[in-house]
Point group: C2
Chain length 492, copies 2
């Protein structure tokens, strides 16, 4: 790395873009708005996916796979959903190319291979899935259906940013069907809690659990639960949503079931998803001006060992010293690499592993050989200490736990000091520009006020926190009565 990263203080946005590329997480592709997720970034996503998948299965869900394409007629069926996604969807209209007679070696769409009905590349799969569930559900005995899908989806966003907003992204989408409203609501809330558990305990990112306002709800949902995180620049990021869909899709696709009592009712539904957007949250919550900071539970490489040596003999001595340590760490399920690449200097390697966010770095030199010690550096605090070889394994194990806890606590402290109660619109506008973060304010409950505030300040209501206290007050904008505070913020 010849040049250091732009710092967060200089330009947070530039810092993020540079970091994603320099740490080899992802890059823009030649396809408008689509990214290439590079091996290092994908390895983190794989760890996230595996943990989430385990949590979904533990809560009784199974995986399945539904078609990439949604025929236009299905897409239209649930009106609000269609309206919400029609403006940003990729449309397949033809199924063949042919040689362009005017341009040898070039291809063109074959006009004779036009589809009778256009196919939408799924922006979300409710339509295709509920068209399928229609055939799977006749009786209460067929319920609940608790299915999850890992897939790619496409939303034709005009302004894209790596991980945060891309035309194609990877995600999981749960789609469940239930006999009762209570059960579907419970499922939606349960999955919000699963997401919160994952984001806090694996990603080490604290979240606020809440409900979206009507304006911010998923198109086609009766209620949207969400988890909201706060980035280091004071902007919020929606980390996951879980929707109670009521009977909207059941009605759109005519999915009814015979209840235990013999009545014929529409099925109740939920859907819930998190995406590669979480990578953005992970990066922006913890990283610093030196590069990535990764929580040990999701780091593809948890420990790196760098030898500091002159000549092959010394390297060989270090290699012998290290061998049992490598074995022991691996046996404990800790991923470790001994970097004996002789084409790079230790200083270069240190910078590189800091950029990549490897939680623990060990260095071993001549003095360490003599004293049976290691130099142990932790990525989160950028501090070093000398540790005896005798208890190095236990030390590393504890350090990984400490780092996981420390970065969570740091993010939590930041987040907690950035939830500010405000009681006037002036104060609201000032704090939004100076301090940022979540502003907890009274709101009159109308979409009109919400829209005005958004237009004037770019702040949106991130959520109505689930744990808010019942407290009457007056709306900071309209002065009308309010039933409680909601969280506003500028958001990604």
């Amino acid at each position: 790395m010849s040049k250091s990263l732009t710092t967060r203080g200089e330009d947070y946005s530039k810092w993020y873009n540079e970091l994603v590329v320099r740490a080899e997480l992802a890059e823009s592709s030649g396809v408008r708005g689509c990214m290439v997720i590079k091996p290092y970034g994908y390895a983190i996503w794989e760890k996230m996916r595996d943990e989430l998948d385990r949590m979904f299965k533990e809560t009784g869900h199974v995986n399945a796979y539904f078609p990439l394409f949604v025929p236009r007629s299905y897409f239209e069926a649930e009106e609000k959903n269609a309206e919400g996604f029609a403006k940003e969807c990729a449309v397949v209209t033809h199924y063949r190319l042919k040689t362009d007679p005017d341009n040898p070696g070039k291809l063109m769409v074959d006009p004779e291979a036009k589809l009778e009905e256009e196919l939408i590349v799924r922006p979300t799969s409710e339509a295709i899935i509920w068209n399928t569930y229609k055939n799977w559900i006749q009786s209460y005995r067929d319920l609940p259906i608790l299915i999850n899908q890992w897939a790619n989806v496409v939303r034709w966003e005009m302004r894209t940013r790596l991980f945060l907003r891309t035309a194609e992204f990877l995600w999981q989408e749960g789609h469940t069907a239930h006999a009762t409203k209570a059960e579907a609501l419970e499922e939606a809330e349960k999955m919000m809690n699963v997401y919160a558990d994952f984001v806090e305990n694996f990603m080490a990112v604290p979240v606020v659990k809440g409900l979206k306002t009507e304006t911010e709800r998923f198109a086609g949902a009766d209620e949207t639960y969400c988890i909201e995180a706060l980035m280091q620049d004071g902007k919020a990021l929606q980390a996951g949503t879980s929707h109670f869909l009521g009977q909207n899709f059941a009605k759109a696709f005519d999915v009814k079931f015979t209840s235990k009592e013999g009545t014929l009712d529409y099925v109740w539904a939920s859907s819930w998803g998190v995406s590669t957007r979480l990578m953005g949250a992970l990066i922006m919550t913890h990283s610093d001006d030196k590069g990535l900071v990764l929580p040990p539970k999701l780091a593809p490489l948890q420990v790196v060992i760098v030898p500091i040596y002159k000549g092959e003999d010394q390297l060989e001595q270090i290699r012998e010293r290290i061998a049992p340590l490598l074995t022991e760490l691996k046996a404990k399920g800790i991923s470790v690499k001994f970097d004996d690449d002789n084409t790079q200097k230790p200083g270069f390697k240190f910078n590189e592993y800091e950029l990549k966010g490897v939680p623990v770095r060990l260095a071993v030199g001549q003095r360490d050989l003599e004293n049976n010690t290691f130099e142990v550096a932790r990525r989160d605090t950028l501090t070093k200490e000398t540790v005896s070889g005798e208890n190095i394994v236990a030390h590393i194990e504890q350090l990984l736990v400490d780092i996981q806890n420390n970065i969570y606590q740091k993010a939590l402290d930041y987040r907690n000091t950035h939830i500010t109660e405000v009681n006037s619109y002036e104060e609201f506008k000032t704090l939004l520009e100076t301090k940022g973060g979540f502003l907890s304010a009274h709101w009159d409950g109308t979409p009109e006020t919400e829209e005005r505030i958004k237009e004037e300040t770019k702040a949106t209501i991130r959520c109505i926190p689930l744990n808010r206290k019942e407290e009457s007050g007056t709306c900071i904008y309209s002065g009308k009565p309010s039933k409680g505070r909601v969280l506003f913020a500028k958001a990604y």
Copy 2:
């Protein structure tokens, strides 16, 4: 199951289609040629994917993710590849829908949202990936690149069949870049061997390793390695391919590197893939007229225990008896289910688990309680025995191994007795219709003869076996000289 399956003898093709649906592996969707992979089918695919992924990682590969869309200009770059896939690709031409003014509530393609350049939904990713590698490769130090991707791809097939040939399918595609021809060739051959290892040792499906003829080669490859399996109806199925791409894509996308010696050379490439088509091979190799037969190593559920009882008291006794067994089996990593669903009779359950291919079924009734025994049934042979409770765990462990070996051996015996050496075209045609299987015959090495035989008999050259003996002879069709036998068969 009110009605039993069509038998293989009656109509093999119908048997397959029925089995896939009745065993809840997959079903056709409302989208032309696209399937829904149902939870049970997906659980098998997940196990296959996890094993393959482990094997790829053990051989030094990493995962990444590239865009779903290939701009037309990239797609065109490698001519043979473009020609090979142009006739069957889904083309995105627009990025927005709008309300249809003539049909309220309906949507139409927005003519103002036409893409300047069409996007092809990837039928395979060489083009998009090599356009990316171009930026990643400058020097020999950047090589090799050993990347794999798990993804969905789309090929607009006109005649589709669940798993075997679908418009959209799931697969993995490895794409590697090398400094030398030898290394790229070695990689292509290595991955063919990894596939063979997986298919034989996990799927219990024997394969022939070989090379494709020029006609059957991947569009854009200089050489295609393949593994070919034989189904119970005597038709072959290509289970995996691994391509040596030469410098074709490097030249198409201008990907050069500076060698150690300072020269500027084009990069050498391989690509390799297996898909959900393997599910078809798995099903057709082992299953019988009762339903699926699954190899224990890939069965989502390996052992099922069915209680045979009258009244809740007896069920409770069985439950107590079973509890430690469930714990012990799970501790050994064996998946097991105790099916105490009281809405279905044991006989119904037996049929259901036979249909689903669960390798081992235990039944426990009053007499078993008294004698401390289990009735143990194995799915592959449909035989039953009474086993003492004292060594039941060891017995089950051994049984799973035996079943895995037995179904492989059975498939191998079938395959071996269906490789027939033929020495005249008459014999070839007769055997093809009566016995089927692989016909090992001399061929003159020309695409013309290959094409004629295909037209006249529907048999294609499945491969030039890697282990064939050098043996001169005369072509069964043209009478011209041949350098050795190749394997012909009708194929899926």
